[in-house]
Structures are given as C-alpha cells and as structure tokens.
C-alpha cells in the first residue's frame, strides 16, 4: 500500500530536523511546495516555527491553504507540529486576529500562565484519551521538548488527546480530531520518544 508523506514546505522554519526524523522513521516522504504535490501524498506533515500570521501568509502565498483543506477533507491524515498544529484551528489571536485553516474548531491564544514565556524545555504530556495511535508504545507522562508562548484551545474537549501543565495553565499539548493530529511540542527534538511519534504517524494511522 502506498504510504507517501508530504512534508509541507511553506518557507517558514527549519525543516532539517523534521525531515531527518521522517527518514529515521523510514517514511517514504518528499518536500511539498506546490498544491498539486499534496494530491500525490497519502499523508501530510505540517511543521512550523514562528508567528501565526507569517505561517498563514506563507501557506496562502503558495496556495497551500486550500490544497491542505481539500486533501484533509478527503480523509488524508495530517500531523501538525507546533505552529503547524496551531495553524489548523479556526482563529489565531497572536498579534491581531487571523483566520487559520479551520480544520479544527478552536482558537490559538497566549498562555495564561504566570510562568515565563516562552515555555522552553522538556515537559510532561499527560494522555487524556486512550488508544491514541500517535502514542502507541509511549508511556503516559513522558517528556517532550516545547518552545512556545501560544496554545491551541479546541472548541470541543473531546479533541484534547493530551494535556500539559505550565505554571497555572493546563493546555492541550496533543489534539486529535478525526484523522487530524497536532502536537504542541517538537517530537523531532524529543529524543527517542519523539521519534516514536513519527514512526507511529507512518505506521499506525
């Protein structure tokens, strides 16, 4: 069965480490910079580092926004990482109000935590759903590497697959909605545990 993964390159952030993690997971992957390329893929990976507005602008400039939505509507699995997870929601409130891809009903807002922002470092991921395919073989409360000030607040609590505590904020660190997954942390920077997330996206979904 074909299992081609499109790593979406919209000119933002460093794809080096995500690409390497996919290779490590023995994925059959390619860089996608044009809308048509997404049609050839069986699954999509949407990485991202930086600000919400820049991310959406980057996707729109390459006409990837509508292409992603149309492929996901067909039922293709997608994995959004960090900003990639955030871009998938309805509305982002980082430096103004911006429309997101609207794959997941919800918003992106600044963490309410009194702790320092950005949150930088390794934090625990508490699984609140059972049998998350992305977490096969990964223990509850394992550590992952986070770098962010903003978080996703899904509209429907059933979309929250895992949570993480930072200061006094308990936020959604993994979102799961139909065949859409997002991680607020960077699995490609989270050592052997993080690499399992990619392997699971390749083999379990």
């Amino acid at each position: 069965m074909s299992n081609k993964i499109a790593l979406i390159d919209y000119g933002l952030g460093n794809l080096f480490s995500v690409a390497r993690a996919l290779t490590f997971a023995k994925a059959d992957w390619f860089f996608a910079t044009k809308p048509d390329q997404l049609k050839k893929a069986d699954k999509l990976v949407l990485p991202g580092v930086g600000a919400f507005a820049d991310g959406i602008a980057g996707l729109k400039a390459k006409k990837l926004d509508k292409a992603i939505k149309s492929e996901v509507d067909k039922g293709k699995p997608i994995l959004g990482i960090c900003l990639g997870m955030q871009l998938m929601v309805t509305t982002g409130y980082e430096f103004g109000t911006h429309a997101g891809l609207d794959l997941i009903p919800g918003i992106v807002e600044k963490m309410s935590s009194r702790a320092k922002l950005p949150q930088i470092g390794w934090n625990e991921v508490k699984l609140v759903k059972s049998e998350i395919p992305l977490f096969k073989g990964i223990a509850d409360n394992d550590w992952f590497y986070f770098v962010h000030s903003y978080v996703v607040r899904p509209k429907d609590k059933t979309m929250v697959a895992a949570t993480t505590n930072y200061g006094d904020d308990v936020f959604c660190s993994v979102v799961e909605y139909n065949r859409i997954w997002g991680t607020q942390f960077h699995p490609e920077k989270s050592g052997p545990t993080g690499l399992k997330i990619y392997a699971n996206f390749v083999n379990q979904v």
Binding site: G13, N14, F16, S17, R20, A21, F24, V49, G50, A51, A115, K116, L117, P118, Q119, I120, G121, W122, N123, E124, W143, Y145, F146, V147, N165, Y166, E188, K189, S190, G191, P192, G194, L195
Partner: protein, 252 residues
Amino acid sequence: MLTVRIIPKLEVKNENLIKGIHLEGLRIVGKPEAAALKYAADGADELIYIDLVASLYQRNNWLNIVKRTAEQIYIPLTVGGGIKSVADARLFLRTGADKVAINTAIIKKPELVTEIARKFGSQAMVASLEVQKKFDGSYEIYTDSGRTPTGVDPIPWAKEVERLGAGEILLTFIHQDGTYQGYDLNLLAKIASAAKIPVIASGGAGSIADLIAAVTIDKADALAIASLLHFNKLNISEIKQGLKKAKIPVRL
C-alpha cells in the same frame, strides 16, 4: 511540570573539544562530535556548541562538525562563535543548528537580535552574555571570548536583548568559568529577575550543590555544564538524580 534543562556546553577549537579556565588556558579534552553523541545518549536535554576560534578559514571544518552532529542527535542544538549576521545565522540553522548564540556581534549591532528573531523566530536567537566581575564588585560584558571589555552593564543589557526579541539568555560567568567554584548566584538572581525570558547559567559548576543553588528560588531555567562532564567528575545521570533528590524537576 517543566523540567530544569541540563545542557552540556562544548567549546571547540580547531576540531578539538577544549576546556579552559576563565575562557583561557585551553586544554584539549577530546573530539566534540564523540562527546556530543555521548551526552545526548546519556540524557542531555540540549547541547551548546561554541567555536572559540571562529575564523572564516576554519569555518567549513566547523560547519562539518555541526552538520555531522546534528544528523545524529534528536535534541536541540545551539551553536555559537563568530556569528555576525543574518546570513551567518541562516548558514548554521540550515546546517542543523536549532538556535544561534551571539555575544560580540549583538554588542556591536544590537538590531541583529531583532533581525534574526524576525527571520527565524525568537526561539532561534539566544543572546549570549559573557560577564566578568570587576574588582569593585560590579559586572561588565566582555566580547571576543573574554578578551575585550565593553563597558556594558549586563543587567540593563539583559532587559534590552529581551526587548529586541531574544528568546533566551545564555549567561556565562567568565570569572567562575572552569573553577568549580559555583555559578555567580548574585548576578544570576539579578539577571533572572531583570529578564522575563529563560536564563541558562554557565560557568563555574563544581558540584550538585552548585547546580541546586542555581535553580532554587526561581533563578536559572537551565544549567550549562562543561568541566564537570568533560573531566568525568559527574555524568548526566548522576547530576539529574542529584537534582531529583532535591525535588527539582528533571527529565530522567
């Protein structure tokens, strides 16, 4: 709960891992790549690579070390030494670094902090503050690997780099570096309360007690460690177990 990061700091000169005292008297310890892989396997939370020579002549060798290391580890890698421009930053980030640490160039041109943060995100821009304690007890930023005094007071400078867009501060105590006498807790507390971004303490760690002191009561967010690890006084597991016993959250 967010853990305190243990970050081995590897200083490199002419393809060798070296370690000095007060950033001087450099002694060859081994090869950077081998040490980096070992620390990553032992449970390091991130790595910092600093090129002490930072000459254009040596740059290709240095880039190769960064590239080969980045290809083999899956934790964040910060690279510093001789980065003077957005183009330099891009070169290292493309080669596999996740963040760049800059001291000398941002003292000369503070707007470089903003340019790099805008281009690659604040998370990629680590402001490196290398500080020397003066005889009167005040503090001054030094550049060029501890050779050049600048007259810059590190406390307002820490606030300024935050305002300019730095994502983190790497705070090196030159006067403590390589001495095993502990971090400068006085300055650490001042910088950590002046800046709202995470602070990595660097220079002087000689025992687990020094590490515990640096993170207790909201001071350092992360600990850079060199001599203790390079000279096998302690390994990462022993360090983390020691912090855990003191109820400091660590990733084990």
